[in-house]
Amino acid sequence: MKSLGSIRRSFAPWADPAAVPYIAFEGVTKTFGAFAAVNNLSLTIYEREFFALLGASGCGKSTLLRMLAGFEEPTAGRILLEGEDLRGIPPYRRPVNMMFQSYALFPHMSVEANIAFGLRQDGMPKAAIAERVAEMLKLVKLEPFARRKPHQLSGGQRQRVALARSLAKRPKVLLLDEPLGALDKKLREETQFELMDLQQELGLTFVVVTHDQEEAMTMADRIAVMDRGEVIQVATPAEIYEAPSSRFVADFVGTVNMFEGTVAERSDAGVVIAEAGGMRLRAAEGGAAGPGDTVWFAIRPEKVRVSAARPPEAGNAVEGEVWDIAYLGDVTVYHIRLDDGRIVKATAINSRRVVEDALTWHDRAWVSFAADAGVVLTR
């Protein structure tokens, strides 16, 4: 197998205007009574993409997935798979398979029978089924458990059976509904990488629904951040994190310090923001904001430096008091209380075992960040 990096780096069909979308949602709306779970949503997903729908519960991401699987029909708009309108095609005739959040393993069937279920339904010859089941068991490393019943397996093993079962029919698209939600943290992290390897190896298109931003960032080529039935931003994990399009995205993905203010000056070197608390913040890029506009300056904690003395060349620096320190081993999280009472969060990587001049509670300290470390948001 080639290393993931070399394949991934060149994989960006969404940037190619000539690329044909594999899955397209066109103005899709789904209402339940008066409630619009999905509201006039358009989205394109490309072949072999690992696509994540990220959002809080109730944002419509699961409804979107269920419409793709065929369990719900859109109230308006259409869904295309390879250019074919899926409307009216029942779930049992769609070339997509789903891995359910609850795994939905058939409790009265062995692991083997669960994996073979879809193949038997298609009337595949017995020998071919046996071969495919063996291949799937090997893929998810469950060969010794073939004859067990689901209730005799651990949570992680069940998750693998569910995965093997949904992959056995070689679907064009694999849908994963919170695939790792029931696993503990360590197993979840391992499985994330396994899923990525599997997706590359099989060359399939994966659409995963998750509320866990870390999971989405780890696995996905692109993430669609959803809120109240609408897509707020679709971009690669790095873009979502470093260049969020709105306060909602910046706040939903990761931790952020947000300063509200108005644009005081605009020049080639960037903008100066008159911050509501009286600070003047320099930002290298002002986006579309013109003088007098209300903007928000968003900066991630790991881009904020904490020091006892004012650093000489920082773009922005403000003084405060060390309010809280959380030592997490790999990083230390500082909460610095500015003199007007607001808290600025900063994280420092513990690259050395012993830090001399360490700051401690109630020390005076400076927080500083470069002008190009944060983003200016207009909404």
């Binding site: 699987a69 065929g70 369990f71 029942p90 779930p91 049992y92 005739r93 398979n97 789903m98 359910f100 959040q101 609850s102 939905a104 393993l105 058939f106 409790p107 009265h108 279920f117 879809g118 339904q121 298609d122 019943k149 209730h151 079962r165 949904s166 029919k169």
Partner: protein, 303 residues
């Protein structure tokens, strides 16, 4: 001291059900069994020997020596009893299958109904119990008799020219048993279906099953514990049923409950009637044990 009391109390909790079984099941059974080994007599009580504690241990031993298995042998010599047992089992089996055919769709519909109306539907299933069982069976006479409601209705529709003879046939017994025991079939099936994770059916559809296939491959096998429980709850009491065959069945209807009643009250042959009852119990213990094994297995699986 407190701990001792607590330990005693926890033992007592286990003792209570056993004591209940002993007093209300085992003791009566032993009495019936003893009578079944006795002879009929024109006396009060109408059998002999009678244990008399005043005659001491030797008297008791003498009385025990008089007991006989003749009544049991008699049950197998007269074809009537064997036929009555077989006929009872057959009628109970047919009624159980019919109750399943009616009860399963009912339970399925209830389990698939919106959550808000389910309690109402459940109530409706239990509602007939609010009227006396006997009155409800009598009501069926009014419906099924030749000049009854059913025939009048069919005449009104012009569907028949002469009345259907249903009352006093086995058909009437089937109707009576299915009607009376339907809730016992519906409730356990409803309980298993309602508990079932609906995503299992969706998974089956996702893997290529049309809805009907998904039902037979997933829903039905997973509802088996409910089907078994419901079938047992209908079959076991139906075998010994007396009121329904007596009121709705004809003179030619042979059921062991009726035979037992006749032996006891018409013939005043308490020993043979007791033997009939003991054999009935033995016959029913087999399905009861099968039922318990099935339940234990289901519990083990965590279904």
């Amino acid at each position: 001291m407190n701990r001792l009391l607590a330990a005693l109390a926890s033992r007592l909790v286990i003792v209570v059900p056993y004591l209940w079984l002993l007093v209300f099941f085992l003791v009566p059974f032993v009495i019936v069994f003893k009578i079944s080994l006795s002879f009929t007599a024109l006396a009060m009580p109408p059998y002999t020997p009678v244990f008399d504690l005043q005659q001491g241990l030797s008297g008791l031993m003498a009385a025990l020596g008089e007991l006989t298995v003749e009544n049991y042998l008699w049950l197998f010599q007269d074809q009537l009893y064997v036929n009555a047992y077989l006929s009872s089992l057959w009628i109970a089996a047919v009624s159980t299958v019919l109750a399943l055919l009616v009860g399963y769709p009912l339970a399925y519909g209830m389990a698939r109904a919106p959550e808000s109306v389910r309690p109402v539907l459940l109530m409706l299933v239990i509602l007939p119990f609010w009227t006396s069982f006997l009155i409800r069976v009598y009501a069926w006479i009014g419906i099924l008799k030749p000049e009854g409601l059913l025939n009048q209705f069919l005449f009104f529709l012009g569907a028949i020219d002469e009345p259907l003879i249903i009352l006093n046939t086995n058909t009437a017994i089937y109707i009576g048993i299915v009607y009376s025991y339907l809730p016992f079939m519906v409730l356990p099936i409803y309980a298993t279906l309602e508990r079932m994770d609906h995503s299992l059916v969706e998974a089956a559809q996702d893997l290529g099953c049309p809805p009907v296939t998904a039902f037979w491959k997933v829903t039905f096998p997973l509802s088996m514990p409910g089907v078994v429980a419901g079938s047992m709850l209908v079959f076991i009491p139906a075998v010994g049923e007396f009121v329904i065959p007596d009121l709705l069945g004809g003179s030619r209807t042979l059921m062991i409950g009726k035979t037992l009643w006749q032996e006891f009250f018409s013939n005043r042959d308490w020993p043979v009637a007791s033997a009939v009852a003991v054999i009935l119990l033995v016959i029913l213990i087999v399905p009861i044990m099968l039922f318990q094994r099935a339940q234990a297995r289901a519990q083990e699986k965590g279904l």
